[in-house]
Structures are given as structure tokens and as C-alpha cells.
């Protein structure tokens, strides 16, 4: 399989993992390692002064893993730039998952603020991976602004509803000159495989793994699905007929009656 390259860094794995919703940090770490991922998201929160809880960071820092801090919780480009600077300082990386979703009900990204923040953060030297609407025009604008990837949503965050934006994802993948990472809404390995078969560069998965009956096994299932989907894409899928008329795959000569 071709390696994935983002901002000059090579990735063998095309599966990115989020770290939310796991039952424990230990389980999260096991799932991360089982998935083979080399890109893991991390959020930020305010410390509590008498806080002595387990530090999640030590469970995700491994030599082969690129940390991808996110800006979850911000509502504007201005807040995103501040969060990005805090993340760069705290985690020692200029990679950033930019996410600006002011509406807490649907958590849909604000396109105007996302584009504005991307422009500013690229100028400040960040490697920006924006979570965005599955809007082909917006994705081109983000690419022109210097985004390292685009990360259009398949469905609202945490819904597990799969590729609801399928047709727009196809257009985005066709037009993009930067890697297209399908983010949000992927609920099953088959969804991830389909996205990869369509030519997505990678998938970002969190909820579907974290809330599975067995998150570690599900992480392996997603790993295999992403590999299968990518391998199929590179092999070149056969053309789908536009009707149900069969096309024989075996010779139709009548060897029984003649």
C-alpha cells in the first residue's frame, strides 16, 4: 500500500483514533496500540487545583504516534487560535485538529470561522487538519488556505450513522490535492472500508471503537477494514452496472446437453 504523507511525515496506518468515551485510560491505550494507528487526537481541559487523576497523556505518548491536539470547545476563530497556542505549548507539537462547532446539539462545524482560523493558523506555522462540512467548495478553500488535509464529516459526531455525505465526499476526494480524512459519524468497519474504497486518504474513528462491546477487538476490526478498503482502491474496483442485468462470470456453453 502507498504510504500516507501529511506535511512531509509518512504514515503506514491510515486509521486515526480519537481518545474520547473509553471506559478507562488503560483500555484506551490497549485499543490505540491494537489499531496500529500512528495519529491520535487529544483534547484540552482546565486543571482542577486539587486534581490527582490519572494523566491520560502518558497513555497515548508512544514513539510511533503523532499527537493531534484538537480545539474542541472553541466557538470562534479567535478562540481557536488561542487554543492552538495553548496546545502547541502543552504538547510540543504544531499539528492541530481544528474544530469549531458552536452548536452543542449537532456539533456541526462553523465553515466561516474554520476557514478564517485555518488562514491564521497556517501563517502562525501550524499544521492544520480542519474538521469541516462535506462541502467541496469549502474544502478547496481550506486547501488554498494551506490546510495539510481536509477532514469532512460523514455524519454528525458520535452518531455512528456512516457515510451520510457519501456523494459529496466523492466530489471532495475527486477534487482534492491534499489528503481527505473522513472524520465523524463512521460507526462500523464497513463504513470505513467504503470510505477508503472511494479513495479517502484516511479515516478518523472514535465513538465506534470506544463504545464497542470490546473496544480492543473493534480497533483491530477497523484496522483491517481500513487496510482492505485502501487495498481495494489501489487495486481498482470493477465498474458497477447501472441496472440488474447479469453479466456472466462463467462460460455459458451448454456442456450438459450437447
Amino acid at each position: 500500500m502507498e504510504k500516507l504523507i501529511i506535511a512531509g511525515r509518512e504514515f503506514d496506518s491510515r486509521l486515526f483514533l480519537g481518545t474520547g468515551k473509553f471506559n478507562s485510560n488503560q483500555q484506551m491505550e490497549e485499543a490505540i496500540l491494537a489499531s496500529g494507528t500512528e495519529m491520535v487526537t487529544v483534547a484540552m481541559k482546565r486543571i482542577e487545583l486539587d486534581d490527582k487523576e490519572d494523566d491520560m497523556l502518558r497513555h497515548i505518548v508512544h514513539p510511533h504516534i503523532q499527537l493531534l491536539p484538537n480545539t474542541s470547545g472553541v466557538r470562534t476563530a479567535e478562540e481557536a487560535v488561542f487554543a492552538a497556542q495553548m496546545a502547541r505549548e502543552a504538547f510540543g507539537t504544531n499539528w492541530l485538529k481544528l474544530e469549531i462547532h458552536p452548536d452543542p446539539r449537532y456539533l456541526l462545524p462553523d465553515s466561516t470561522e474554520t476557514l478564517k482560523a485555518t488562514e491564521e493558523l497556517v501563517k502562525l506555522g501550524f499544521v492544520v487538519l480542519p474538521y469541516c462540512q462535506a462541502d467541496p467548495t469549502l474544502c478547496k478553500r481550506l486547501e488554498e488556505a494551506g490546510a495539510a488535509t481536509v477532514m469532512p464529516l460523514a455524519a454528525p459526531i458520535g452518531t455512528n450513522k456512516g457515510l451520510q455525505t457519501r456523494d459529496f465526499l466523492r466530489i471532495i476526494i475527486e477534487q482534492s490535492n491534499v489528503p481527505v480524512v473522513v472524520d465523524a459519524g463512521i460507526g462500523a468497519p464497513s463504513h470505513a472500508a467504503e470510505a477508503m474504497e472511494m479513495g479517502a486518504a484516511a479515516c478518523l474513528v472514535n465513538t465506534a471503537i470506544a463504545v464497542a462491546g470490546n473496544p480492543v477487538e473493534m480497533a483491530i476490526a477497523f484496522k483491517e477494514a481500513v487496510i482492505a478498503g485502501r487495498r481495494a482502491y489501489e487495486a481498482g474496483l470493477g465498474i458497477q452496472a447501472d441496472n440488474l442485468v447479469a453479466s456472466a462470470s462463467s462460460p455459458l456453453t451448454s456442456f450438459l446437453n450437447e
Binding site: M44, R46, I47, L57, G92
Partner: protein, 66 residues
Amino acid sequence: MKIKVNNKETELTQGNNVASLAQQLELPEQGVAIAINNRMIPRSQWAVQEIKEGDSLVIIKAACGG
């Protein structure tokens, strides 16, 4: 000196810079960032960056998230 840390009234009992606050709060060597009045202060500046009475500080650390 009275300051606010993450919106909570806090008494800075020793020194008057960010490094002394970090020491007082026993902050870890890595994985945290501090801002004074919404301006991020790089760790390299902690020892020289003064904190003034009434300043509002934000201190963040890693959290699980997708």
C-alpha cells in the same frame, strides 16, 4: 496576592511569577500550558513573567477527546 486560576480565587503564597505559581500548584514538567489574561505564556518565560494582583490565569492539560 489574590489571583484567579481557572476562575477560582487563589492565593499566590510565594514569589510573583509564573514559575512560582507552577511550583506552588505542583504542575507537571510537561503537558500543561498557562495563559495570563488570555495570553499564552511559553514555559521559557515562566521564570520572568510576573503575575499581578487580580490577574486571571488559565491552566490547561490533556483530556480525552476525538
